[in-house]
């Protein structure tokens, strides 16, 4: 039994390591400071992914600003007040939302945001990513809050704390690191999304800081370069992939540091 499970673990971790090493090997040759800060240039003239990094960060900030508060609030509702039939319905809908393919979310946001505003925009991209985040964050938040022992809640109630203060002052702080982990997973998940961005943020070959304009992102850039016929761009796509992986790793480390157990 031990041998079998150990073997499976080695296979799973091994595949991950192979992917990481392969990406690093393919990407590292094109990586340079210029590559990280420049905007794209025509084939053969170098150029970089600076605009895509800025775009990805903006999209993540925007989608987190919309998706995290909403998702966490839904999770709190489900765990603390969602015992009834309505709670069950919400839980079912949230689960269904989790299963919607991301390209469908992209098309949906295209019709409700892009079409009325008449052009692709960072805002639409942020909304699409937020829609993907909400159910993930809601469900992880709910599960984590459920793990907070009931006797902690009773301890606070017994001191004359009203329900909302128990939730805000005792339950949430006790669940904070778990909620943050859920949020981090959701961010990591959407930072790899490409399909919904094709219909919403679209991509751009220039630096853009405007919410109402199309914006570049690492994933769409990787996609565009990877399907191009040029070896030069293929190499840049690998390098951009390495940057994206590093970015996700950095998010992981930062959140873990911020939410480390203090008590």
């Amino acid at each position: 039994m031990t041998t079998l499970t150990a073997l499976c673990t080695v296979v799973a971790v091994g595949i991950l390591l192979i992917i990481l090493v392969y990406i690093a090997k393919q990407g590292i040759s094109s990586l340079s400071i210029r590559f990280l800060v420049d905007s794209p240039r025509p084939v053969g003239e170098g150029g970089g992914i600076g605009n895509a990094i800025v775009g990805s960060v903006m999209l993540l900030l925007l989608s987190s600003a919309i998706g995290l508060p909403l998702g966490i609030a839904v999770g709190i509702y489900l765990s603390e007040f969602g015992a009834g039939r309505f709670g069950g319905l919400v839980r079912f809908l949230v689960d269904t939302l989790t299963g919607i393919p991301s390209i469908v979310t992209g098309v949906f946001v295209y019709t409700i945001v892009v079409v009325p505003l008449k052009h692709f925009s960072a805002l639409a991209g942020g909304v699409a990513l937020a829609l993907i985040m909400i159910p993930i964050v809601a469900r992880t938040t709910e599960e984590i809050i459920r793990l907070v022992p009931q006797n902690l809640r009773e301890g606070a109630l017994a001191l004359g704390a009203p329900q909302w203060r128990v939730t805000m002052g005792v339950v949430l702080p006790a669940a904070a690191s778990g909620i943050a982990t859920g949020a981090m997973l959701a961010i990591a998940r959407v930072s790899g999304e490409t399909a919904p961005l094709l219909f919403t943020a679209f991509g751009s070959r220039f630096f853009s800081y405007y919410l109402d304009q199309p914006i570049a992102s690492l994933t769409v850039q990787i996609y565009n370069y990877a399907i191009s016929p040029y070896d030069d761009w293929h190499a840049q796509a690998w390098a951009a992939t390495l940057v994206l992986m590093t970015l996700i790793l950095a998010i992981n480390i930062i959140v873990r540091f911020l939410t480390r157990k203090r008590f």
Partner: protein, 279 residues
């Protein structure tokens, strides 16, 4: 089985043990009066017509086998059962003459007056200071930082924990030992100066030394507070309480002065339980 249906008034005929000088007397006004209390978990009835008076500033112990309803009864006294879905209560529980189950009762206010210490110590994942200060802060009982600090210190001294933690008030409460955590929970309950303190098997998870400290503390506390303690440990009931109530199968069988209860109880069921014939 004979079940007393009428209100059993706590009779105290012998002087209390311990260091406290004045033994409680029978003519003390009832702090809490319970009349015909029934309690249901869904369709299961957990308490059958319990009537009981708890006089002021005594220690009353509830004994009985597991599942006899003593904890459930304790938790009706600060309406802590309200948080369990599907429960129902009927009958009357009054504190200082006010029915605490009357519509419009401020449960938050009630729980401020009736503190509770749980079987499993449950310090918040905060610092030692913040744990004790929690009740003071949410109820806005202090007007300045220094007053807050004073009240915290006072509560920690009352719970005999001050000397052990005064140099590390800012460190996590979860770093304390089990016995210290339980005394911290007592300090947290005392900080808001409740009138009644309910203790649900407060020492059941502690070693003998920590148990001894908690018991000394209880005897000390009854100068100021009315204390109701649920315990599985009959020696403990005998050591700390003035009055003992015996529960069996959701019914209150007997309430009597502790000395009498353990030497010459009125009910044969009580005698059988205490002498270990069952339970």
């Amino acid at each position: 089985m004979s079940t007393p249906q009428q209100t059993i008034k706590a009779r105290i005929e012998l002087p209390a043990r311990g260091q406290t000088p004045s033994p409680p007397s029978a003519d003390r006004p009832a702090k809490i009066a319970v009349k015909d209390l029934k309690f249901f978990y869904g369709k299961t009835q957990a308490l059958h017509d319990v009537s009981l008076e708890i006089p002021e500033r005594i220690v009353m112990a509830f004994i009985g086998p597991s599942g006899c309803g003593k904890s459930t009864f304790l938790r009706t006294l600060n309406r802590m059962n309200d948080v369990i879905p599907g429960t129902r209560v009927s009958g009357q529980v009054s504190m200082d003459g006010q029915d605490i189950y009357a519509p419009g009762t401020d449960v938050v206010e009630l729980r401020r007056k009736v503190g509770m210490v749980f079987q499993k110590s449950n310090p918040f994942p905060k610092s030692i200071f913040d744990n004790v200060a929690y009740g003071l802060r949410i109820n806005r009982l202090t007007s300045s930082k220094s007053e807050l600090a004073d009240r915290v210190e006072q509560a920690l001294q009352d719970s005999a924990l001050w000397a052990e933690v005064k140099d590390r008030l800012k460190s996590s409460a979860l770093g304390l030992s089990g016995g210290q955590q339980q005394r911290l929970c007592i300090a947290r309950a005392l900080a808001i100066r409740p009138e009644v303190v309910l203790m649900d098997e407060p020492a059941s998870a502690l070693d003998p030394v920590a148990t001894h400290k908690i018991e000394e503390l209880i005897v000390e506390l009854k100068r100021q507070y009315t204390i109701v303690i649920v315990t599985h440990n009959m020696q403990q009931a005998a050591r700390v309480s003035d009055t003992t109530a015996f529960f069996l199968l959701g019914k209150l069988i007997e309430v009597n002065a502790t000395e009498k209860m353990f030497t010459n109880p009125d009910e044969t069921l009580t005698e059988d339980y205490i002498t270990g014939r069952f339970g």
